[in-house]
Amino acid sequence: MSALASLDDLVSLPERIQSEVQRAIQRSIKGVEYFSTSGPSLGSTPKDVVHVRGTMHLYHYRPLADEVYRVPILIVMATTNRGYILDMVPGQSFIEFLLKRGYDVYMLDWSPPKPEEKSLGMEDYVLDFIPDCIRRVQQDSGEQDVSVIGYCFGGVLSLLYGAIFPDGPMKNLICFTTPVDFRELELFSSFADRRYFDVDHLVDNIGNVPPEMILSSFEMLRPGSRVASQVQLWDNIWNDEYVKSYRMFDRWATDTLPLAGEYFRAITKDLLWDNKLYNDTMTVGGRAADLSRIKVPILHAVAEHDHIVPYEAAKHLIAKVGSNDKEEVMLKGGHVSLVAGANAIKRLWPKLDSWLCGRST
């Protein structure tokens, strides 16, 4: 048997070499194409600007169904990244999926805070921007109830909002990969070690935290992956689908936003240093943000292989909220592939739809 297998290997080796030579030729051709063309157009689902105020942008996506659920959805994007991760290209867009399933979708997205916005603090995001957007969604949709979806730190902001305004109008809350125990973000905690990291010196001197610093801190979580991804790109450059996907995710990942100085100071001191959200001592603008005050139905989706928000940091969310109707779902994937990409289409999106549809009438 083993002799036969060895013979098979010998026979197939020239074919493999031929295949690799063909790929090498394709790499040269496609490599030129790669550098001479731009990537796919992202975030192209038709939308209208409802309101813009400084860093805050509220969009309304045009419905794609003849009939929609009564309760609109407000997506709160993470403040470090652009919202088009949830609206990549047709067929791979979470927004498009929601619209086709009959949801009325709004998104609170962020543009880079300008130097003069360095004084924006946690209270501006939680007590001003989100309530303002909720009010505008209510006005625009004519509905009092609003479901909120928060991705990553957008989830943290949504939790804080829900804890401070427990009497509504938030009807349902969905969090994707949302950290609660910040001690478990081990590397971020190490980078921001209070013995060595002088956040006041940083913010007082440079104002807003530059996007390069945010991007570097994300990339340092997997320092070998940037080089490895370049090698993988070269290896797969003959494959149009791979290249398209690589370009989409790479563009998004490197399109990091700066963070407003005071907001960054509050994240560092209150969350990374004092772990106040986990310790139930978090306050925003002097108002207690105890997660047990959240009573609305809540779904928390976490990723099995999340290197940015590991499960240990996210797992306490469901235990801490005061809701009776609460569920955590762990799905295969990483921090980004949980919400976008081929796996999300098969896993998260249908799960979210089945959870939310009955709660949106």
């Binding site: 493999r16 209208d48 009939e67 190490s190 980078f191 002088d198 010196h201 001197n205 440079i206 009438t361």
Partner: protein, 135 residues
């Protein structure tokens, strides 16, 4: 079919994957140490200090060259931002007005809203009330 373990190209790819994992694990361990944090933040703090000093120097230089200072540019940016805000509000109002008058197909499409009457699909043969549904 040939075993992948005998394919040199597959082996090379596997080796690359393992190297990446190994390097990430090693680097993560190194970066978790207080020494790393201390060194990184000392270097970062010095850079921030230098950046601040350079900024101050540049401001003095611009002033000497009779060019607008950063504060003046920020004031101007704030005014432009305020004008942009007003323009956006006017644009929204115009869109709403033209949609009401049926002036453009685009704005009419934006204004036409489907009814909010959608019900969740019922699984075949299941008459149970969906979760969260008001009875």
């Amino acid at each position: 079919m040939a075993d992948d373990s005998k394919d040199p190209f597959a082996l090379w790819r596997k080796m690359m994957g393992e190297m990446e994992k190994g390097f990430n694990t090693f680097a993560n361990q190194a970066m978790s140490s207080p020494q790393f944090s201390k060194t990184m933040n000392q270097a970062g703090g010095a850079t921030v200090g230098a950046q601040k000093q350079l900024g101050n120097l540049m401001e003095k230089y611009l002033l000497a060259m009779n060019m607008p200072s950063r504060a003046q540019m920020v004031d101007m940016a704030e005014r432009l931002q305020s004008i942009e805000g007003h323009l956006n509000e006017i644009k929204t109002l115009l869109q709403q007005m033209s949609a009401v008058n049926g002036m453009t197909r685009d704005s009419a499409a934006a204004a036409s809203k489907p009814p909010r009457t959608k019900r969740p699909p019922q699984p075949a043969g299941d008459t149970k009330q969906p979760p969260g549904e008001k009875k």
